[in-house]
């Protein structure tokens, strides 16, 4: 019973924080572009509105896929330690987290491809290409940290940085951190890596046929993915945190960096993006990996 309650609380917390970040992000971008911008709680209003509207679907695969996508990301979230707390007792294995995250994306891709709109499928094809682009440098970064610590448990890696700020992997392995930040930008699908959304080109790609609660579920999936991805970075590079407030604050710092980059950059074409990800962040990550191996 306790476990069920914890699972619910963690899920709601992740959704809440993710939506809050999204709202603040929109406000920040607006201020950078000298607009007034929506209120910071706009994302909650959006989701509330979307779930209360009627919506259309084309077949059962769309329903199944959307439920699977949010479900997969929530499951991933339950494996990520948040300030030392995990929803259930597991070894918080990084590889499990990376693979579980994929089921969410697969569900989303399946749902939008089932909608039968070519724009959506083009978006998915770009998203999967981008995934190959960022996953390789990001894994290389993780590999370095795993080899240093001799463990693939996210919790142990975050504990190993306890003590002073100088123990943070961000300070100890700055090259890794830079590579991970660039990969994170692509992972979140923010500019300059938003070729899969590209509203002017393919009409928001995956989102083109989603309406009502389906779009709402897509919003929530995005919120949870923001939460999970920033939480992984905080655990890997910023030493986790002793309480939840500091943890969320650190997550917010990471999110703010992506928002700043998002606000001022134009968009890469998909092949440019993949080439960039395989040269610059990959090169930096490999350099750090070699330094780690030689040590």
């Amino acid at each position: 019973m306790m476990a069920v309650l914890r699972v619910f609380l963690f899920s709601l917390f992740a959704i809440f924080i993710g939506l809050l970040f999204m709202g603040i992000g929109r406000k920040v971008i607006a201020r950078i572009q000298l607009r007034y911008g929506p209120p910071f709680y706009q994302a909650f209003l959006d989701v509330g509105k979307l779930f209360s509207r009627k919506s259309i679907t084309h077949n059962f695969v769309m329903d199944l896929g959307m439920v699977m996508s949010l479900g997969g990301l929530l499951a991933t979230m339950l494996f990520v330690p948040i300030a030392g707390h995990v929803a259930v007792k597991t070894s918080t294995n990084l590889i499990v987290i990376m693979y579980l995250m994929a089921i969410g994306y697969l569900g989303m891709a399946m749902a939008v491809a089932a909608s039968g709109n070519p724009n959506a499928t083009i978006g998915v094809s770009r998203a999967l290409t981008m995934m190959l682009g960022y996953e390789v440098p990001f894994f290389t970064v993780m590999l370095g940290l795993i080899i240093v610590n001799g463990t693939s448990s996210l919790e142990l890696i975050s504990q190993s940085q306890a003590g002073s700020i100088l123990n943070w992997n961000m300070i100890r392995f700055p090259l890794s951190f830079i590579a991970a930040e660039i990969a994170l930008q692509a992972m979140m699908g923010e500019k300059p890596f938003d070729a899969m959304i590209a509203p002017a080109e393919i009409a928001s790609g995956p989102m083109v046929e989603l309406s009502g609660k389906y779009l709402g579920l897509a919003f929530l999936t995005h919120a949870v993915s923001i939460f999970v991805e920033t939480a992984i970075i905080v655990n890997l590079f910023m030493g986790g945190a002793s309480n939840i407030f500091t943890f969320v604050l650190k997550q917010f710092e990471i999110y703010l960096i992506t928002v700043f980059i998002e606000a001022v950059f134009p968009r890469f074409k998909i092949e440019q993006a993949v080439k960039f990800l395989w040269t610059v962040p990959m090169g930096i990550a490999v350099l750090q990996l070699i330094l780690i191996l030689l040590k």
Binding site: I56, S125, K213
Partner: protein, 624 residues
């Protein structure tokens, strides 16, 4: 023990007798496979069972005996391949209802050689069974179709090449170690490598080449796509799930123990040279197979390359030479058997109903074949290595082993391949089953019951092995312990990694996934109602195309799905084409042989050859 081999032989004969009656042959086929599975189940744990036949001859100083024995690792391979074969043979009854030719008799003979390979006690028996499997599969692939001849010939010539190398290797091994038995000769080979390194390594590489030919590893990765594209679909299912593992089994019992304990120069303190040879073969196969699979348009070719990539993972696991990597590889053998069988059964079902295997000509089949779609969906989730289905556990163990050995290049190659797998797997899903249904497939129906039941069984097995890996890991660890490896018997749901604090409980992963889906399902049900509308409704922006004097058109984005990505790789893929290399070798041979032939045909050539011969004879005489 011997009845295990006799039953398939007798079945082959009786099927050949009843070949005109299709129902009888396939029923016999099913019954025989059922018996084999039962028999294998009953000999589990009786590792001392054996049967041998002494000829009393000696060849090259080694005793020439034929024998089979219940080798634990062989049992592990044989049992799971028998299980998959039984499921495929249920499928075959329905699938072959309307087919003209009958592949069952040859197939039964292959099952006989299958058991022979897995239970062979000595290299002579092994070689005989290996050869039997090679030429019989030629007939099974062609199955009376002229179109399939090219692929089958390609396969046959590679098989013959491999068999020739195997024969040389076996003779050398027999001559230098004085025994043909597999396990003692492994120790013998170790001693040869320690005393005269070059000879030992040549023998080892000869064996390795034979085995990687059968398992479609890097330089020989072309045959699956040629063969799978044309062969009969149900037999291809067997081939892609079971037969491609024939190279892996002898590697596991012979090459891995030798390479693991040999004393050779080490690279960066991580592994010896041979380990890296195996690893690079695996890594190149994994990456190249993935890239080529991404660019295919034929669904059977796509999954053929996916098999190449999966064989690459298995070699990567072997190359780590740790017990976790070894277990992971052998676990992946069975996982790949299960998921590839599931995927190919659905492809066979699609071909059965539509007669089409080019992906861009299909689409929207989920509306007509929902069960096939579900099987395919679970199959690709398993193939992508996503929990909670099978395929994840074994990949996880292999990556753990590579990371703990600090083999960073191999680990990155593995991640590249398995992330690239999402790309081609999703492309197949989207192009075949999702999107809009073409008009010509409006009348397509779901498959009949005999084909639906095996697919359903495959779904259950994939989920079962994914959540309770113990059903495979327990027999595996028992077998490894019986052979003499220092392993603990695995528990039902927990997998052990090789890094610190690396234990995952797949049961918990499954529960968490279910919890996530329940929460998101609740959100879904709390939301306002939704209405199912046909795809055209949204698509034409509320207008009626008829009012505009046009027809509703259908668009599927599926032909060059990854065009921008392909353009990045075109220069690379054009420069490495093994087929061109083989073709140029073939051309040169042809040129040489026609030249020699020409010499014989013309008078002056014969005189020339005669004089060369005489000259050589005289020279030889002088030297001696």
């Amino acid at each position: 023990m011997i009845e295990l081999l006799l039953v398939p032989l007798i079945t082959t004969l009786s099927i050949a007798f009843f070949i005109k009656y299709k129902r009888v042959t396939w029923t016999l086929f099913l019954a025989s496979n059922g018996f084999i599975l039962y028999k294998l189940y009953s000999i589990y744990g009786m590792w001392s069972l054996s049967y041998s036949f002494n000829t009393g001859y000696e060849i090259l100083g080694a005793k020439f005996n034929l024998g089979v024995s219940n080798n634990p690792i062989g049992w592990y391979f044989a049992f799971f391949s028998a299980l998959i074969t039984l499921i495929i043979s249920i499928f075959s009854i329905g699938f072959n209802k309307n087919s003209k030719s009958n592949v069952s008799v040859i197939w039964m003979l292959i099952i006989f050689s299958n058991l022979g390979i897995f239970f062979a006690k000595d290299w002579v028996t092994f070689f005989m069974m290996w050869e039997l499997m090679g030429w019989t599969s030629f007939f099974a692939i062609t199955n009376g179709k002229d179109k399939a001849l090219d692929g089958a010939k390609y396969y046959l010539s590679l098989s013959l090449f491999g068999a020739a190398l195997l024969l040389i290797a076996i003779s050398l091994l027999g001559a230098y170690t004085g025994t043909f038995e597999i396990l003692p000769s492994a120790f013998g080979l170790l001693q040869i490598i320690n005393s005269s390194t070059k000879l030992g390594i040549v023998i080892l590489l000869l064996f390795l080449t034979t085995f990687i030919i059968k398992s479609a590893i890097f330089p020989f990765y072309m045959w699956p796509q040629k063969v799978y594209a044309e062969g009969p679909e149900d037999y291809i299912t067997f081939m892609s799930s079971v037969m491609i593992k024939y190279g892996i089994y002898p590697m596991a019992i012979f090459i891995v123990p030798v390479v693991g304990s040999v004393n050779l120069p080490r690279i960066l303190n991580t592994g010896n040279v041979l380990q890296y040879v195996i690893g690079y073969l695996g890594a190149i196969s994994a990456v190249l197979g993935t890239l080529l699979a991404i660019f295919q348009t034929d669904m059977k070719k796509l999954f053929a390359y996916s098999s190449v990539s999966n064989m690459g993972y298995i070699l990567l696991g072997f190359s780590s030479m740790t017990i976790v990597g070894f277990e992971g590889s052998l676990f992946h053998v069975v996982n790949h058997m299960i998921l590839k069988a599931a995927i190919f059964l659905t492809l066979a079902a699609v071909v059965f109903r539509t007669g089409e295997s080019e992906m861009h000509k299909l689409g929207g089949l989920v509306y007509r074949m929902p069960l096939t779609f579900m099987t395919f969906l679970l199959g690709i989730i398993a193939a992508a290595g996503i929990p909670p289905l099978n395929g994840f556990g074994s990949k996880w163990m292999i990556i753990q082993a590579l990371m703990s050995k600090k083999m960073v290049v191999f680990a990155i190659a593995m991640i590249f391949a398995s992330t690239g797998a999402f790309m081609y797997l999703f492309r197949a899903l989207a192009s075949i089953f999702l999107g809009q249904l073409p008009d010509r497939y409006k009348e397509v129906k779901e498959v009949p019951l005999t084909m639906a039941v095996p697919m359903f069984i495959m779904m259950v097995i994939m989920l079962l092995v994914g959540v309770v890996p113990g059903v495979v890991m327990k027999p595996l660890t028992t077998a490894l312990k019986a052979v003499g490896y220092n392993v603990d018997i695995a528990s039902w749901t927990v997998l052990e990694g090789s890094l610190k604090n690396a234990t995952i409980d797949l049961k918990i992963v499954f529960y968490m996934f279910v919890a996530g889906v329940i929460i998101s399902g609740l959100m879904y049900f709390f939301g306002n109602k939704s209405e199912t509308v046909p795809q055209e409704d949204n698509y034409t922006a509320g207008e009626y195309p008829e009012e505009w004097g046009v027809d509703a058109d259908r668009f599927n984005y599926s032909y060059s799905f990854y065009q921008p990505f392909k353009e990045m790789f075109d220069p690379l893929l054009e420069s490495i084409s093994i087929d061109d290399l083989f073709a140029s070798v073939g051309r040169n041979f042809e040129y040489l042989s026609t030249t020699i032939q020409g010499l014989f045909k013309r008078g002056e050539g014969a005189v020339l050859l005669f004089s060369i011969g005489v000259l050589l004879l005289i020279l030889g005489g002088l030297i001696i």
